[in-house]
Symmetry: none
Subunit: 251 residues, 2 copies
DNA sequence: TTTAGATTCATTCAAAAAAAATCAAAGAAA
DNA sequence: TTTCTTTGATTTTTTTTGAATGAATCTAAA
């Protein structure tokens, strides 16, 4: 069977059921787990489905209305990430000049954006395409595009940011710690984040509680540089160093 | 059996089933694997099907034509466009620094690119993503993103091009005329084209024969600025003004 | 909240499948 | 005949696949 045929079957199943597990697909396609995973990665990279832990979900299902079938079983972090994203989106005001960092956390924000008078700048390819498709004023930062990432990186990207003065910026992070601030494993992405955050009048970090007290090789900003939006603050000491916005599940 | 007969059978099977494997065709045509592969390569190069690992897919179901806005335009002259695109791609040499303009015509070029030592810069989102996915050195120009064409435009895009010196540039156009040169209906896209073409040591326009003797509101370059790659030159007078490369339906 | 155990995931590697390149034979054209 | 093209077989190279490993993530129980 051609790879293209497998893709079609996967997408067809997703269209009907909205979510599917890797095991389901192994049985439906009579192929190995490795192949299914590779197919999902390919389809995810080309934006035709959304890969989640345990399987995949249909791309058209937006996060606010998504059935918690798989996510309920696999933990509610997806739910909480959506809450954080919604809160972040609500902070955007009329005529804001907004920077949205590449990454899955910030990608969730796009579903909740309402402010059409604002201008949005991003280094995420998917972000830019979706923003434009939704009719927002969308700008993409120029620069190198690596195969693995969906983000524009490199010195051109850094230079391209020099003349922007964002009123608000929204970022993802891998680690947060008091001493090492916000950190990420990728040097090239870190540099872009540093430059972007430096051009934001107000910067927000979107981070669920699992990100706290973790340190990665590259620090891209000090803890005091940005307001943190999180679902749950377990370690109160962070309040001494920066503003924390806590979003709760209620209603 | 004549080669043309085999082509017809292959295309007919594809029309019905949308995808076909090499083995299927060996049985259907009662010929060797080598011949089937050669046939598929020929049909792929002339844009009549899309070759994939293990077989081929019909050109209309292939994901390269996924973008709905772009499919509409594709229609009739797909074959000629593929020939033009292949010729254009073959002009790229080692270590070239290549600009590829956004648009459907240039998008087809990507299927025929081989030169991995070259660096590719584009203002087309889809182009950039695919170049990166194929493992080429890919850069995207920064700027405003127009939803309908997935092209980056505006003054940022123009500025972002200031420091590039391309060895070769490939462009689409809506109209060609001796007096008005190469023209397009969209002012904002025209400005980007003008700037890009000015930074190319050598510029090529990819245009099928329907584009000649048409004039659109915005001229983005004079007729002498670029070499034209076309399928058929009906009006010989153009040869007096610039270089024309004519590609034919060879075998 | 922490910890242990179970899933799931990305990566690596070798085997299998497929594609491309090479070459000689058969046919067609000159 | 001689030359050129097409075809099929053979080989070399590339791509895909599936299994194995260890890392990461999730779940449940303490």
């Amino acid at each position: 069977m051609l790879a293209e045929n497998r893709y079609e079957i996967i997408l067809k199943i997703l269209e009907e059921k909205k979510t599917v597990t890797v095991l389901d697909l192994v049985q439906a396609l009579h192929t190995s787990e490795s192949t299914v995973r590779r197919d999902l990665t390919t389809l995810h990279n080309s934006g035709r489905l959304y890969k989640v832990y345990g399987g995949a979900t249909s791309i058209t299902t937006n996060y606010s209305t998504r059935e918690p079938d798989m996510t309920a079983k696999k933990g509610l972090s997806a739910r909480e990430k959506a809450l954080i994203a919604r809160k972040a989106a609500s902070l955007i005001a009329r005529n804001d000049f907004v920077y949205i960092d590449a990454g899955t956390t910030t990608l969730l924000m796009l579903d909740f954006l309402r402010e059409t008078s604002a201008t949005y700048v991003t280094n995420g390819i998917t972000h830019a395409v979706r923003l434009a498709a939704k009719g927002f004023h969308a700008y993409i930062i120029g620069g190198e595009l690596k195969a693995s990432t969906e983000a524009v990186i490199g010195s051109e990207a850094v230079n391209g940011m020099k003349f922007y003065n964002f009123t608000k910026g929204f970022f993802g992070t891998n680690g947060i710690s008091v001493k090492s601030g916000f950190s990420t494993p990728e040097p090239v992405e870190g540099i872009v984040k540093t430059e972007a955050i430096a051009h934001c009048k107000k910067a927000y970090i979107l981070a669920d509680d699992s990100k706290f007290n973790k340190i990665y090789p590259i620090t891209f900003a000090n803890i005091s540089c940005a307001t943190i939006i999180t679902n749950r603050l377990t370690d109160r000491k962070y309040r001494d160093y920066t503003t924390i916005i806590e979003v709760n599940e209620e209603k």
